[in-house]
């Protein structure tokens, strides 16, 4: 398998504290890769650095062979990377359909003139709404399409985040704790959805704390602790790795 995302020596300092330090990682095209580690290990920071919400102190990130340096967050989406947020960030006073439709910005590529003048623009918007409906159907939220996102439960918001991310037609999907706070049934549903997403050829890179889910779904796992990579490999290897166990157990004692 070829690699789709390459991270070399990624480092981020907040003041004197290293949130992420000399992190190397390689995401292979089409795989499901999980990033785990105790709280505060730097996992979300890594996602933020990849999507350019935060700027690295050092390090290189390349996607499909091209560097992601100097890009603005919306340009990351253009390249084909979409992400969800650990603490869901949906557009609260917009309806579900609008939440998903607005993420099709780059598919529709509106500009002022065409919006006002061209009838094909309107056609594209109608198709966009239809596609948004399909996305909502995929995550089982279609019946609530016209409701405001603020009215959703946490689990539903997480599913909406997934729909929004898929709406951007990504090649690489970054999921930040997609099942946090969900009951087992909801978790199962998400796992199924991720499976389908993977079958469509989308690479999935996810952060999670739910070990059962991580072990069940991942092809490879990377473990982060205090901003440094401490293990990498197949689920069976990682789960037996004493360094990893120490990281988690040690933390629990504190």
């Amino acid at each position: 398998m070829t690699s789709i995302l390459n991270v070399e020596g990624l480092t981020k300092y907040f003041g004197g504290l290293a949130a992420v330090e000399d992190f190397d990682l390689c995401v292979k095209k089409g795989e499901i890769l999980s990033l785990i580690g105790p709280n505060g290990a730097g996992k979300t920071t890594t996602f933020n650095l990849i999507t350019r919400l935060e700027l690295p102190t050092r390090g290189k990130i390349t996607f499909k062979g091209e560097s992601l340096a100097e890009l603005r967050p919306h340009e990351i989406v253009e390249r084909g990377i979409a992400r969800t947020f650990q603490m869901t960030r949906v557009f609260r006073k917009m309806t579900l359909l609008e939440n998903v439709a607005v993420a099709q910005h780059l598919t529709i590529r509106p500009n002022l003139w065409s919006t006002l003048v061209s009838p094909s623009e309107r056609k594209r918007e109608k198709e966009g709404l239809k596609k948004a409906g399909e996305m909502l159907q995929f995550v089982n939220l279609f019946p609530k399409g016209e409701e405001l996102a603020a009215n959703l439960s946490l689990g539903e918001q997480k599913r909406l985040e997934l729909a929004i991310a898929l709406s951007m037609d990504p090649e690489l999907l970054l999921l930040d704790e997609p099942v946090a706070g969900m009951n087992p049934k909801e978790t199962e549903e998400i796992i199924d959805l991720i499976g389908i997403i993977r079958e469509k050829g989308i690479t999935v890179f996810l952060i999670e704390h739910d070990m059962k889910m991580v072990m069940g779904i991942s092809e490879r796992i990377i473990v982060l602790n205090y901003g440094k990579k401490i293990a990498e490999g197949l689920p069976e290897e990682v789960s037996q790795n004493p360094v990893v166990l120490e990281a988690y157990l040690g933390r629990r004692h504190q």
Binding site: L53, H74, R89, F91, M94, T95, T115
Partner: protein, 321 residues
């Protein structure tokens, strides 16, 4: 059903001048139309995109002065000057919008306020250009529109101005409505709800924010230009902080972030002072009070209240009725 309703309203609006005997009353209606445009333009920036612009009167004034100077100093026809004035205002909208890109909340409010005041000071002090505090008199009215059969519409009576304004408002509001329903309209809302998140769904927030300022500036500039050729006298006194606050009150009480809110607000707050002549000195006080009460108790304004009376299955977001 809805189309029938809209046609009836349109017919009513077209028929209106014939029912109004008092020219002063027609004048108030025309002024309210101008403020409908002003309030709608501010609503684009503040209501839909969530960026408070306390310098909006500056756009109004730039439109008015640009149009006036184009006609009186460069001899351009009013019909050409009006859209040009809109474009000049757009230019300033972009000029002001760029430094404001990284600002939000109160930073943005104060900076736009500063720009508004600087603009007003410029109007006062660039005497060779603007005639300073004395203002400019005798601004030409639009030249008559001559048809192929030599029938003409002249702008000596208020009625012609009314129809011109009606046409302007219809075109501008239709454009605004189309924008708000479009993909671009959704990006406005997204930026308002969560600007950082908007970036992560592929929206170039810089481009959209500038476009948004430019649009708000354009419609305000058009309103200003019409005002100049209607009242035919302008001075910096018409484009002060008071005007901005009045327009803001119209938007907030009418319904921040709704399509009809500014329309309702514009009409109500133009007519209200007329009925409350006796307590004119309490006017700004009452506006202030209403603005505070509205944002606390009825954040969606009068439109929000009306909407809540209509039984609905679920709440809607951007849907415009």
């Amino acid at each position: 059903m809805k189309i029938l309703g809209n046609l009836l309203i349109l017919a009513g609006l077209i028929y209106l001048p014939w029912t109004v005997k008092n020219p002063y009353f027609l004048h108030i209606i025309i002024i309210s139309g101008i403020f409908v445009l002003l309030a709608s333009s501010l609503n684009l920036i503040t209501g839909y995109t969530g960026r408070l612009n306390l310098g909006h009167a500056a756009f109004y004034g730039i439109g008015a002065y640009s149009s006036t100077l184009l006609v009186m100093k460069l001899g351009i026809s009013v019909w050409l000057a009006m859209p040009l004035a809109g474009l000049i205002t757009v230019f300033f909208g972009i000029l002001i919008g760029i430094p404001c890109l990284k600002l939000k909340g109160s930073y943005l409010a104060i900076t736009t306020l500063a720009f508004g005041e600087i603009t007003r000071l410029a109007m006062m002090n660039l005497v060779t250009l603007t005639n300073g505090p004395l203002g400019i008199r005798g601004i030409p009215s639009p030249p008559p529109i001559i048809f192929w059969n030599s029938a003409l519409i002249s702008f000596e009576s208020k009625t012609s101005y009314y129809y011109l304004l009606l046409a302007l408002c219809l075109v501008c509001l239709l454009i605004i409505k189309r924008l708000l329903n479009s993909q671009i309209g959704k990006t406005f809302l997204a930026i308002r709800e969560d600007e950082v998140r908007a970036g992560t769904v592929g929206i170039d927030t810089t481009q959209i924010k500038i476009m948004n300022f430019a649009l708000g500036a354009f419609f305000a500039g058009i309103a200003g230009s019409f005002y100049a050729h209607y009242v035919r006298f302008i001075s910096p006194d018409s484009f002060t902080l008071n005007e901005t606050f009045t327009i803001l009150t119209m938007v907030v009480v009418g319904g921040l972030g709704t399509f009809y809110g500014p329309i309702v607000g514009g009409v109500i707050f133009t007519f209200l002072p007329e009925f409350l002549r006796a307590i004119a000195e309490y006017r700004m006080m009452i506006y202030g009070l209403m603005m505070s009460v509205a944002i606390i108790f009825m954040p969606e304004g009068i439109i929000g209240i009306l909407q809540s009376w209509i039984p609905r299955r679920t709440q809607k977001g951007l849907k415009l009725e």
